[in-house]
Amino acid sequence: MTLDDILTSLFPKGHDVANDKGVLLGSALLQSGGSAVVIGVAGRSPLGVDEAIRLSRHVLDAVEQGGEGPILVLVDSDSQRMSKRDELLGLNEYLAHLAKCLIYADMQGRPTVGLLYGHSAAGAFLATALATRVLVALPGADPAVMDLPSMSRVTKLSIDMLKEKAKSTPVFAPGLNNLAQTGAVFTIWDEKTSLAEQLQTLLGSIQGAGDQRDRLGKHRNGRPKAADIAERVHDLALQSK
């Protein structure tokens, strides 16, 4: 689906989301009534300091204006922008700030929903889609924490060898299903039916419970240990004096 198709299917009552060189900003009417704030990264654009600061501004303005509508984060991005200038200016702070704004908004009662409809990677993924309460994806989305050629360079293993290993474990290989198995992606939507209705169902099912991704990863056999380790440390720490 193209971005326009997605926006039309998500918001049949209308939206004013604008795409300015890959930065998505706007708002939309929800089918169920009320409105949503929309941010995002489109066209497989990298996320650098200049883009991140506009996205965080939009989120903060929405929180400031009040209301209870959800915040949608649409993502088809590259990784963070890899440049001297971005690092010089403190890209880690800009990306962290964007994530903080999204997490804060969610905790203030503005449910954040990520929709991964294309690519994303590394720091850009952490600051956008992975900073939401619930992340859904469209079929064909192709997230990659690290691509296989780069991984091949670092691990000194051939790409064929990596592909072979990827069959037995989803834990390192790129791709939507592998990431979903670790618990990062809550569900994969059906692009042949109304996205608005699927969004409405999703919003109705969001609960107040905390971060459930490690439990989901255990349930799906993508992350066998994370949930239990976190829980054990949590309990030991609270018992300690």
Partner: protein, 315 residues
């Protein structure tokens, strides 16, 4: 299998926090010398052998603590939670177990609503051999960290290790209440080699160490406002500043985020066209900007405090 602190177990405890270099020390030494003597109590220590379940797929050695030490201790008599990454194991990178230990600690801190957390970063970011689990672990850590701060917990990052603080580690650092960083403590998202590999040596020459230090190193981060404190190399200095920052860190909320938004917008307006760190320092009003890299810590701090008072309310 290897145990990172084999050497610390055999060296008599002559080591002193005033003389031991943070950079040279192991994660375990840093924790021991940072906290009040004998106060540290570890959670899921190496004796429990909770190793990475994924490294064997790559025929790589595991480590019994998966490269991170998590526990509780005291600093100047007050309780504190501590997490310390071992940069000498897999570059301190976040894997499934490594990350989950920190997530659990932060969730506990959140539930105490009070006990501060010290994170001793030493990391290149996500551990590639378990990239999906590591990336998601970082997302969970960021979430748990902000939840803890919302509950009133102060979280201070200490950065001065071999691996620096890169990738997702840089994002977690950016979520902390305050940071103390030494000269060697580089902070960034894309490391020098990553930029060079992806964009070419013209964009960033990773072998130009002076360029690396002045673009990502502790002095630049302090002058830019990316870290609240610049510390010299000793563990004693990190201890003093950890105490200071726990005391001065802000209570997290809308005001802090709005102040950070403004702080970061102003940075782009003021320095967005600067080509090099030296240009930024000059624009900050640093008189002898060229001399900053060779300046001793005390002299640098005098200069930095004149150029830019540290802010404690905008992170």
């Amino acid at each position: 299998m290897n145990i990172s602190d084999r050497e610390t177990a055999t060296v008599p405890h002559l080591a002193n926090s005033k003389t031991v270099s943070w950079y040279e020390a192991s994660a375990r030494q840093r924790v021991q010398l940072l906290l009040d003597a004998g106060s540290f109590h570890e959670f899921i220590g190496p004796e429990q052998r909770e190793e990475s379940p994924h490294l064997q797929v790559f025929d790589l050695p595991t480590q019994f603590d998966d490269g991170i030490i998590i526990g509780r201790g005291r600093i100047a008599g007050a309780p504190v939670f501590v997490a310390a990454q071992e940069g000498r194991f897999m570059g301190g990178a976040f894997g499934e177990v490594h990350g989950a230990k920190l997530t659990g600690l932060l969730r506990a801190a959140r539930d105490t609503k009070s006990v501060p957390v010290l994170i001793l970063f030493d990391t290149g970011g996500v551990r590639l051999q378990e990239a999906n689990a590591g990336e998601l672990a970082i997302a969970e850590i960021m979430r748990a960290l902000i939840e803890a701060r919302m509950a009133g917990v102060k979280i201070v990052g200490l950065i001065g290790g071999r691996a620096g603080c890169y990738g997702g580690g840089g994002l977690i650092a950016g979520c902390c209440s305050a940071l103390a960083v030494s000269e060697q403590g580089r902070i960034g998202v894309s490391g020098p080699e990553v930029i060079e590999t992806n964009r070419g040596v013209e964009e960033f020459n990773s072998r130009d160490r002076a360029l690396v230090w002045r673009t990502m190193g502790g002095k630049h981060r302090r002058l830019l406002g990316g870290a609240e404190a610049f510390v010299d190399e000793t563990i004693q200095s990190f201890r003093s500043f950890a105490l200071h920052l726990i005391g001065s860190a802000p209570v997290f909320g809308a005001e802090v985020l709005k102040a950070e938004q403004t702080r970061l917008e102003q940075r782009l307006q003021r320095f967005g066209l600067c080509a090099d760190a030296v240009d930024i320092w000059k624009a900050e009003g640093v008189a002898d900007a060229e001399a900053v890299p060779v300046m001793a810590a005390a002299d640098f701090n005098d200069l930095a405090n004149k150029a830019r008072e540290p802010r404690y309310d905008a992170r």
